[in-house]
Amino acid sequence: MATREDIFQKVQSTLVDALVVDPEEVRPEATLTGDLGAESIDFLDIVFRLEKTFNIKIPRGDLFPEDVLTDPSFVQDGRLTAAGAEELKKRMPWAADHITEGLDIQDLFTVDMIVRFIEMKLNEVAASQN
């Protein structure tokens, strides 16, 4: 079972490939949209590459819940509403401590969040095999 550091290395190189940024920019606290310049189509590319790298399936909306982010009752003026924060915490339990009402959605997805999501998925796979 890979360590968090192993996972981070692989996520880092995946994001370097997908977003054409330098490895040094891909720090754990870097935000995908704000710091690394990711756009919505990049999210699709990132999911494809992560699946390939880690040999897992990431159903649509699991890692990046677009339906929540495009719902006006959950996001207003680019920030999470109270309802939005609550809904996202449910959908993204691995990131719950990072999600608050008023959070700018550009700051929502961080590199570390992806690492934690992958860790969670790999644990699920390992558990289902035991």
């Binding site: 490939d17 997908a18 189509i41 990049d42 699709l44 590319d45 494809f48 390939k52 649509r60």
Partner: protein
């Protein structure tokens, strides 16, 4: 002007691979400006040829429901230019195919001379979303692409979908 940058489909294996050709001719007006005295096929149009070939592959996989859009060029390398008289061969392989989009790998060459390589990411809008976003604006383009497949007569694996596509 119809925006078709491939002339004929030579091979088409549904959900897998497609090969098309594009003849570069001095009758193409833009070549006289690109460049004066030194006509070369613009590299952006070489990429467009790869994207159209790939787009056909991706579109055919869902029987052309919805709309396939070029979303991202992940990696593109150019090796050489194509000039009038050349026949560009475009080959595209599907790497990833989903309802929401696809990734293909494309290679362009003139005979054995490599021209370009690209990794292309497509998004796919389902019928409803396509209608919301573009309405009927791309109806001509879609029909042109459907005609290309029908005229090539080379679609394998697609079976009935190629017959329906021409309706």
């Amino acid at each position: 002007m119809r925006w078709i940058w491939i002339d004929r489909i030579e091979e088409f294996r549904s959900r897998e691979y497609a090969r098309s050709v594009k003849n570069v001719t001095l009758a193409e007006e833009h070549l006289h400006d690109h460049f004066p005295g030194y006509p070369v096929m613009p590299t952006s149009l070489v990429v467009e040829g790869l994207a159209q070939t790939g787009g056909l592959l991706v579109g055919e996989a869902t029987n052309f429901s919805g709309l396939v859009v070029l979303a991202k060029l992940a990696r593109v390398t150019f090796f050489d230019y194509a000039v009038p008289g050349d026949q560009i061969v475009y080959e595209v392989w599907i790497k990833e195919l989903r309802p929401e989009g696809a990734v293909v790998e494309g290679k362009a060459r003139v005979a054995d001379r490599p021209l370009a390589e690209a990794e292309i990411v497509f998004g796919r809008l389902d019928e409803k979303r396509a209608g919301e976003v573009v309405g009927n604006r791309f109806a001509n383009f879609r029909q042109d692409m459907l005609d290309m497949i029908r005229l090539s007569g080379h679609v394998s694996g697609a079976g009935d979908s190629s017959a329906e596509a021409g309706d």
